[in-house]
């Protein structure tokens, strides 16, 4: 099965949108850090817009997308509803942060956006749960995509805290960055374990583990996922205390590459059982 790059990017960007929402909902950014707040909400909205563009680019007849809610029983229609809702909340949050409207409501809205973004990522993952594709048809797949989105989002939040310029006498940014880094460590550990287990199990369903370890997927698995996507960023997150800006940037980019590889590998591994294998 060919890699559907637009779907890979769509899933990556929707996953990234979790980070800015988490930053606004789980920290004091909304109350005390207006510059960070503005940047986070703009980056979150941009991620969802890019995800939407990638999703539309995947369709060969995008103008017919007006029909996309005709069958709400379809996992794809349900996913689209939640992605759109997440986008509306992100847009509202960005406008409120830009014009400094209703400060009391912003954190509540960020919480709402965070929940919607997480649900969207889960729903995006559940469209792969198809009996016709045995390698995908496991709950490890949604967990893999969710944990990969959580870690990538958290690293985006860490990066934002590290690079957004300090405003006036603003204090506590280093502590905030350290807090985000400390959250990232356990999430990263879960992501690494779940992802490797998922791919080993998925490969065993479609051609055997050797396909992953020494076969056609070996380069993506060893270089893209294990080395670039897991080992290198793990070291950077671990060592992140020394130079948070450089560590956050490098860890974010490497994990993003790993997350891309995870999504790209789903396609060659998600093959159908040949009907001639019945005999």
């Amino acid at each position: 099965m060919e890699i559907q790059w637009m779907l890979v990017l769509y899933s990556l960007f929707m996953g990234l949108s979790i980070g800015p929402f988490a930053l606004l909902a789980l920290t004091d950014a909304c109350e005390k850090r207006p510059a960070l707040c503005k940047w986070a909400s703009l980056v979150g909205l941009s991620c969802i817009i890019l995800a939407g563009i990638a999703a539309f680019a995947h369709l060969l007849k995008p103008l017919a997308a007006i029909n996309i809610f005709n069958n709400l029983a379809s996992p794809m229609a349900r996913e689209t509803v939640f992605v759109l809702l997440t986008g509306v909340v992100a847009a509202a949050l960005a406008v409120m942060n830009l014009f400094n409207w209703l400060p009391g409501l912003r954190r509540m809205l960020a919480w709402f956006g965070l929940v919607l973004a997480v649900i969207s990522v889960i729903l995006i993952a559940t469209i792969y749960l198809l009996p016709a594709r045995p390698a995908w048809n496991s709950w490890l797949l949604p967990i893999t995509l969710l944990t990969s989105s959580l870690i990538n989002g958290l690293l985006l939040a860490w990066l934002l805290v590290a690079i957004v310029p300090k405003q006036g006498d603003e204090t506590g940014l280093m502590e905030l960055a350290a807090k985000l880094r400390s959250w990232a460590l356990p999430v990263f550990a879960v992501y690494a374990i779940v992802t490797v287990v998922f791919f080993l199990m998925a490969a065993s369903q479609t051609g055997g583990i050797t396909r992953l370890l020494v076969g056609d997927l070996a380069l993506l698995f060893w270089l893209g996922l294990i080395l670039v996507g897991l080992a290198a960023p793990a070291a950077l997150i671990w060592l992140g205390k020394k130079d948070p800006k450089a560590s956050a940037l490098a860890a974010f980019l490497l994990v993003a590459i790993g997350v891309l590889v995870v999504r790209a590998m789903l396609f060659p591994i998600g093959v159908r059982i040949p009907i001639t294998s019945l005999w």
Partner: protein, 192 residues
């Protein structure tokens, strides 16, 4: 109510590919894309006891079709006669039906940028003709008709050969309506 069904008797199939060619010609399906595909199953065994079969695979027009459930726009739908059809005006060509179908009966047509799937030649059956694959099958391995009519040729043939009926990929639970009859010879039967 009618229940239009295709029946594939593997015993009678000679692997001439007429079904595939006729389908392509009737429905303007380009090379590399198939609405109805013929597979070679086997060979099995050791010389001189070697066997092989041909398996014609149109759409199964499943009762509980995975493609119908998956389609977000309702472009894939089931008609009252049981056939699964595509409304190309509603289709966004997301390809999700092709992912969901366990039989691989759906493909994206890269030329026309639309989803290809067997409609049982709706343009022909609506005017009382057989689907193109059935019409051109010289071994009469393909039959078409109303299974709810006990006097139809397909019902009678099925009744006479019911011991050879096997459902293709039954474990996926989509309740395929296309009926397969296993080869008579030898002990090689499809795995459950």
């Amino acid at each position: 109510m009618t229940r239009l069904t295709l029946l594939v008797d593997i015993q009678r199939c000679i692997g001439c590919w007429a079904c595939t060619v006729a389908c392509k010609q009737e429905n303007s399906v380009p090379p590399g894309v198939f609405r109805n595909q013929l597979f070679l199953v086997g060979p099995f065994g050791e010389y001189p006891d070697v066997k092989a079969y041909f398996l014609s695979r149109p759409c199964m027009h499943c009762e509980d079709a995975a493609c119908v459930k998956a389609c977000p726009t309702g472009a894939t739908f089931q008609r009252g006669d049981g056939t699964v059809q595509i409304d190309q005006d509603k289709c966004i060509v997301c390809g999700y039906c092709a992912w969901a179908c366990p039989y691989g009966a759906r493909q994206i047509n890269p030329v026309s940028k639309r989803i290809e799937g067997c409609s049982m030649c709706s343009q022909r059956i609506d005017v009382g003709l057989d689907p193109a694959c059935v019409h051109h099958c010289m071994g009469k391995a393909l039959m078409f008709g109303d299974l709810n009519d006990p006097n139809s040729d397909i019902s009678k043939y099925l009744e006479a050969n019911k011991d050879r009926v096997f459902p293709l990929l039954e474990s996926f639970g989509t309740k395929p309506r296309t009926i397969y009859l296993a080869p008579k010879m030898g002990a090689l039967v499809p795995k459950p």
